[in-house]
């Protein structure tokens, strides 16, 4: 039977070679970005620094070592890792939402997490002042917004997916209005510019301390969503089919929404609202490795990480002043999305 040979040749499914390539790309992006910045650090300086740091073997002067350590380890590395985590979180959440809501035009903000987190941050800046309080308030309101969306969907009987989308629309509108109130009452000389700048997104606050708080839950969420990605395929076939395949639909969906909300709310905590990443990157991932979420989700994580590192480099280097990264992702994202749409539309038109 020809089927046997055919089967063996198909076993290492197409697109597998992308993963090593993407992993190397991520490593290159991290190392390359460490050299980029106002203070010049060459690759030679960097390798000398790491030789000394790890093997205690090198001839750097203590002053130069100290300075490089400050630039590379204290300033650049946390920011680069934060960018990678944010890119991966948004992309994975976007991929999960697109599959769960059976709609390729959905982004992680669908259930109101970004609107809620934005309001929470603005609220914190006006009424709470301390930076950790702002971050906490942002995270709390992001999660609260999703809870309200889910609550609205639960109030009615009917198509759960559709009701969740409607709940998200309502909650998004609610928190956008509340944000407007905060902006209106904010002090126009100090608070309003801070809120506005923060809403544009930026990684200038991404220090080692913040990274330490968000990294573990973000990594955990990304990993768990990737492990559950097989369910995304089934959920996108519709609730009843998934149920008939023995999938506990409500529980799996609740878990996935929880993980995606956690991951994306934490991106707002670190860097404000960054649009477009969660919408575009899943499309690119599916273009490269195919629509099977077991491969598309991990691919989206890696591509999103690389993408946001590069966009952040552009944001901080292109002009003498840093441009908010939210603006850069939109400007890069819009034409790219138009292009991707053309390429990938075939599958879901």
């Amino acid at each position: 039977m020809t089927g046997i040979n055919e089967r063996d040749s198909i076993l290492p499914r197409t697109g597998g070679f992308f993963f090593p390539v993407l992993a190397i790309a991520l490593l290159v992006a991290v190392c390359g970005s460490l050299t980029l910045g106002k203070y010049p650090v060459s690759l030679r300086d960097m390798s000398a620094f790491f030789l000394q740091k790890i093997f205690d073997a090198g001839q750097m002067s203590p002053e130069a070592y100290q300075l490089l350590g400050n630039v590379i380890i204290d300033i650049r590395l946390p920011r680069i890792l934060a960018a990678a985590l944010i890119g991966a979180s948004l992309s994975v959440s976007g991929a999960a939402f697109q599959a769960m809501f059976v709609n390729p035009l959905v982004s992680p903000g669908l259930l109101g997490v970004l609107a809620g987190a934005s309001f929470g941050a603005a609220f914190g800046m006006v009424f709470l002042k301390s930076w950790i309080a702002v971050q906490t308030s942002s995270f709390a309101f992001g999660c609260a917004a999703v809870l309200i969306s889910v609550g609205i969907a639960k109030m009615y009987r009917g198509n759960t997916v559709l009701l969740l989308v409607l709940g998200g629309v309502i909650t998004g509108a609610l928190f956008t209005s509340l944000l407007s109130i905060i902006k209106y009452v904010a002090d126009p000389y100090n608070q309003l510019p801070a809120i506005t700048l923060w809403l544009m997104g930026g990684l200038s606050h991404a220090d080692a301390h913040t990274l330490g708080l968000v990294a573990a839950p973000q990594m955990g969420s990304i990993l768990l969503i990737a492990l559950l990605a097989g369910y995304l395929n089934v959920l996108s076939m519709g609730d009843e089919e998934a149920r008939a395949l023995g999938v506990p639909v409500e529980r799996v969906r609740a878990l996935l929404i929880f993980l995606a909300t956690l991951a994306s709310a934490l991106t707002v905590v670190t860097a404000g609202t960054i649009g477009w990443v969660g919408l575009i990157i899943p499309h690119i991932a599916r273009m490269l490795v195919g629509p099977d979420n077991k491969r598309a989700v991990p691919a989206a994580a890696l591509i999103g990480a690389v993408y946001l590192i590069i966009v952040d480099d552009v944001s901080r280097l292109l002009f003498s002043v840093e441009i908010p990264i939210g603006i850069t992702t939109s400007l890069v994202g819009i034409p790219f999305f138009a292009f991707v749409l053309r390429k990938s539309r075939r599958g879901w038109s």
């Binding site: 089967r7 149920r243 599916r286 879901w348």
Partner: protein, 272 residues
């Protein structure tokens, strides 16, 4: 006497205040091909979902091999009974083999990864339906008939010996409808049990042992297709006058009594 495969006793179901199933009692025996017939909105799809355990009856019991469905896990049931919905398109162009692989989920643990064995079973399922050549094709870009076969392949990969199909032939062109019936007849010879709903009484006459007629949530006729599918019952069910005609071979056909003023030339002796 062994317990019937599926046993519904006095099942009631409501959507809101409106009763959809009214006191339905129905036994399905292993190896049968049962066709559910009835007009739109009569409760066929609801009955199917109740038998699958997707919907819980408000009153009455559903038993599978003698055990109440509420006590059986959904994974266990998915290994016993497969659901083949009406043909539909997914938003994402999963390959046909990816779709067939989904049938392996009821055999996996919560955090699962498909094994080589799963892949072999999925490919075998495609092979049994002669659609191995479609394995790497996107599910969204094949014909409706091929998509329906892909879903049946998923049902085979599930390992379930009973298949419940909700209007499997609707939306398929004529040739694909006949090929689908052919596949159902073949699988039935291998011992699979089929419960399928259809809008076409001929499909029941051709590939089914037994017809169950449902009107306004109640069973109005239940018996061998050749006996139950007759002019009176079809008129009662669809408010249309149809004669059953015996063809030269052993097949039966439905012919409308009048269409546009033309009268069907039904042979009175073979009319049932």
């Amino acid at each position: 006497m062994t317990a019937p495969l599926i046993d519904l006793q006095h099942v009631w179901f409501h959507y809101g205040k409106r009763p959809v199933l009214k006191d339905i009692s129905l036994q399905i025996t292993q190896g049968e091909i049962v066709t559910l017939l009835g007009p739109n909105g009569c409760g066929k799809s609801t009955l199917i979902k109740v038998m699958l355990g997707i919907l819980r009856p408000l009153k009455g019991t559903v038993r599978y091999k003698g055990s109440d469905l509420t006590g059986l896990g959904s994974k266990y049931m998915a290994r016993q009974i497969a659901y083949v919905p009406q043909t539909h398109r997914s938003a994402f162009p999963y390959t046909v083999i990816d779709v067939a692989l989904m049938g392996r989920i009821p055999h996996k643990t919560f955090f699962f990864k498909y094994s080589k064995e799963d892949l072999r079973i999925a490919y075998d399922a495609l092979g049994r339906l002669s659609i191995l050549h479609l394995a790497e094709r996107p599910y969204t870009q094949i014909s409706g008939g091929e998509r329906q076969l892909a879903i049946i392949a998923r049902a085979l990969a599930q390992g379930a010996r009973t298949m419940i199909m909700d209007e499997p032939a609707s939306g398929l062109d004529y040739g694909n409808q006949l090929r689908l019936l052919e596949q159902i007849a073949r699988l039935a010879r291998d011992g699979y049990t089929f419960i399928k709903s259809t809008h076409s009484p001929e499909h029941a006459l051709w590939v089914a042992d037994r017809a169950v007629m449902i009107k306004e949530g109640q069973i109005v006729a239940d018996g061998p297709c050749g006996e139950v599918i007759n002019t009176e019952n079809l008129h009662n069910l669809y408010d249309a006058r149809v004669n059953i005609v015996k063809l030269a071979g052993s097949l039966l056909a439905c012919v409308p009594e009048t269409i546009g003023g033309l009268r069907g030339q039904a042979d009175k002796t073979s009319r049932r």
